[in-house]
Amino acid sequence: MTQPKTVLVIDDDERHLLTARGLIEALGFRVETHNSPFRSTEKILDLKPDLVLLDVNMPALAGDRLCELLRSEPVLENTQIYLYSSNDEDILRQSVRRYQADGYICKGDIRGMRLKLQSLLGGST
C-alpha cells in the first residue's frame, strides 16, 4: 500500500481553501490547508508535502515572496511549489521566474488544475 501524495494549500481565503480541498481530495490526494503565511514554514517542514499550492495575495507576506523564502530552505529542495492565484497570468509567469516557483496554477481553471496535479503527482485511482 502506497501513501497518497500530500498537497498543502496555503491561502488566507477560506473559500479557496474549501474548494481546493474538495477538488484535490477528489483526485485521491491528501490535502492539508493553512490559512496564513505565518507559521507556514513550520507547517511545511513538519508536513513535508509533495506539493505546495501557494496563494499570492495574502496579508503581511505575499505568496510569491514566501516562495522565495521557502526556496532558501535546503530541506525543501524536493518540494514542488506552485503559485495558486486569481492574478493575471502574465504577472504569475513573471513571479514564477522571479521567485523561483516551479510553476503556477490559475484558480478558476479547474480542468487545468486537475491535469497539472495528476501529471505532477501521478494519476491515482
Partner: protein
C-alpha cells in the same frame, strides 16, 4: 510674429524671414549729407540698406557713417558724395528661408568690426525684403534656448507624471483583475463541488455551499457595480433622478444585503431610525449606494461587535454608519477618498475590495450636493456621516392612522 517663433520648436528650422526688423531703404545715390541728417534726427535708426530697383547694393551703418564723417575733414570730403562712396558695398546678404542659427553663424564669422552690422535679407528673386539686427538675433536665440530648456523640463515632468499615472493604472488593473476573479473563482469552485457531491447524493455540505455562493456573488456584484459606477462618473454620465421612497424600506434593503455579506462573523447590525415610515423625495438609487458602500465597509472592516446604521429624514437626510472595527490611522484619513489609492499594499491586503467604494461614495455625495465626513480611531472603530439635501413630498400618508 512672436507666436510664430514660439511655435517653432527647432532653431534650425526658424526662418529669419520671421525676425526682420525693418524694411526701409535708400537709393545708393542718396547724398551722404541727407543720410547723415537722418541718422542725426532718428536716433533709433541703426542702419539703412542701399537699394535700387528692389535689389540690394550696400549697407549704411549708423556708427560707421557718423564716425567717418566725424573724423577730420570727413564732412567736407564726403558730404556731397553719394552714400555708396562710404557705405559697406559688400554687406552680408542672406536668403529669407535661411535659419536663425545659420545666419547667426555667418554673422559671427565676419571681421570683428562688422560682427554687429545689420544683415540684408533677400527673397527667391534676390530682391531686398528687410534688415536683420544681429543683436535681436542673439536675443532670440537666447530666448529660444531658455524656452527649449523650459519646454524640455516641462516635457520631462509631463512624461514622469504620465509614467506615474500609468503605474498607478497598471497596478490598479492587476489589483482589480484579482478582485474580480477571486470571488468568481470561488463561485466556480463551489459549483464544481456542488456538482460532484450532488452526483453522489452527498447533500450535507449544501447549506454551506449555498451560503458561500451567495456571499461570493454579492461580493462580486458589489465590485462590478463599483467599477461601472466609477466609469460612469468619470465620463460624466451620472444623472440624478428624483423619486419618492420610504426611508425604512431603503434601510431594510441595505440591512439585508449586509446580512448576506456578514457570513458567520459574530457581528450584530442594527438600524436606528425614529421615523422609518417617513416619505422622502430624492435619488433613491444613489442614496442606497452611498449607504451600502459605507455599511459594507463597516461589515468588512469589523470582525466583532456591532454596526449601527442610522438615518434621519427632514429638510436634510442625515445618514451615519458606525462600527467597532479596525479603525483608520489618522495619517490615512486624508487619502481615504482618493481613487486607486489604497491604504494597504494590494498584494498583502487583509481585506478584499476594489478600493473604489469610498471614492465613489464621496463622488455620489458631491453629485447630490451633500457632504461626507469620517471620524475614526485606530483599533476602536469608525463612524461615517453623510448629509444630503432632501425634500419631503406633500404627504398623503399623514392622514392615515
Amino acid at each position: 510674429m512672436l507666436k510664430l517663433i514660439t511655435e517653432c520648436h527647432n532653431l534650425d528650422n526658424l526662418p529669419v524671414r520671421d525676425l526682420i526688423d525693418s524694411s526701409g531703404s535708400v537709393s545708393p545715390e542718396t547724398p551722404i549729407s541727407v543720410l547723415a541728417e537722418r541718422f542725426f534726427t532718428e536716433p533709433e535708426l541703426d542702419a539703412l540698406p542701399l537699394v535700387r530697383d528692389g535689389f540690394p547694393y550696400g549697407l549704411a551703418v549708423r556708427n560707421k557713417i557718423l564716425t567717418t564723417l566725424g573724423t577730420r575733414f570727413g564732412f567736407a570730403l564726403y558730404a556731397r558724395k553719394p552714400i555708396s562712396a562710404i557705405a559697406d558695398m559688400n554687406p552680408l546678404l542672406v536668403h529669407h528661408d535661411e535659419s536663425l542659427n545659420g545666419v547667426l553663424a555667418q554673422a559671427m564669422a565676419r571681421d570683428f568690426r562688422d560682427i554687429y552690422d545689420e544683415i540684408l535679407v533677400v527673397d527667391e528673386a534676390d530682391k531686398y525684403v528687410g534688415l536683420l539686427s544681429v543683436k535681436r538675433l542673439v536675443i532670440e536665440q537666447g530666448n529660444h534656448l531658455a524656452q527649449s530648456i523650459a519646454q524640455r523640463r516641462m516635457a520631462l515632468e509631463r512624461a514622469a507624471e504620465m509614467q506615474k499615472m500609468n503605474d498607478a493604472k497598471s497596478s490598479f488593473m492587476a489589483h482589480i483583475t484579482h478582485e474580480l476573479r477571486s470571488p468568481l473563482h470561488a463561485i466556480v469552485g463551489v459549483i464544481e463541488l456542488v456538482k460532484m457531491n450532488f452526483s453522489q447524493q452527498k447533500l450535507d455540505e449544501f447549506p454551506k455551499y449555498i451560503n458561500l455562493l451567495s456571499t461570493s456573488s454579492a461580493n462580486l456584484l458589489a465590485i462590478i457595480n463599483n467599477i461601472l459606477d466609477l466609469s460612469k462618473i468619470e465620463v460624466g454620465r451620472m444623472d440624478v433622478y428624483s423619486e419618492d421612497f420610504v426611508l425604512g424600506d431603503l434601510l431594510q434593503e441595505v440591512l439585508e444585503t449586509c446580512q448576506v455579506l456578514l457570513g458567520d462573523k459574530p457581528l450584530t447590525i442594527e438600524l436606528d431610525c425614529a421615523q422609518p415610515q417617513i416619505l422622502l423625495s430624492g435619488d433613491r438609487g444613489k442614496v442606497r449606494q452611498i449607504l451600502l458602500n459605507l455599511a459594507s465597509n463597516a461589515v468588512k472592516y469589523t470582525d466583532r461587535g456591532n454596526i449601527t446604521i442610522a438615518a434621519e429624514g427632514g429638510s436634510q437626510l442625515k445618514l451615519s454608519v458606525k462600527d467597532t472595527g479596525i479603525g483608520i490611522r489618522t495619517e490615512d484619513l486624508a487619502n481615504l477618498f482618493v481613487a486607486f489609492n489604497q491604504l494597504e499594499d494590494a498584494k498583502t491586503r487583509r481585506y478584499n475590495g476594489s478600493g473604489l467604494g469610498l471614492t465613489i461614495t464621496a463622488q455620489l455625495v458631491q453629485l447630490l450636493g451633500g457632504n461626507i465626513s469620517v471620524d475614526s480611531t485606530f483599533g476602536i472603530g469608525s463612524r461615517f456621516d453623510v448629509q444630503l439635501p432632501c425634500r419631503q413630498p406633500s404627504q398623503p400618508e399623514e392622514n392615515f392612522p
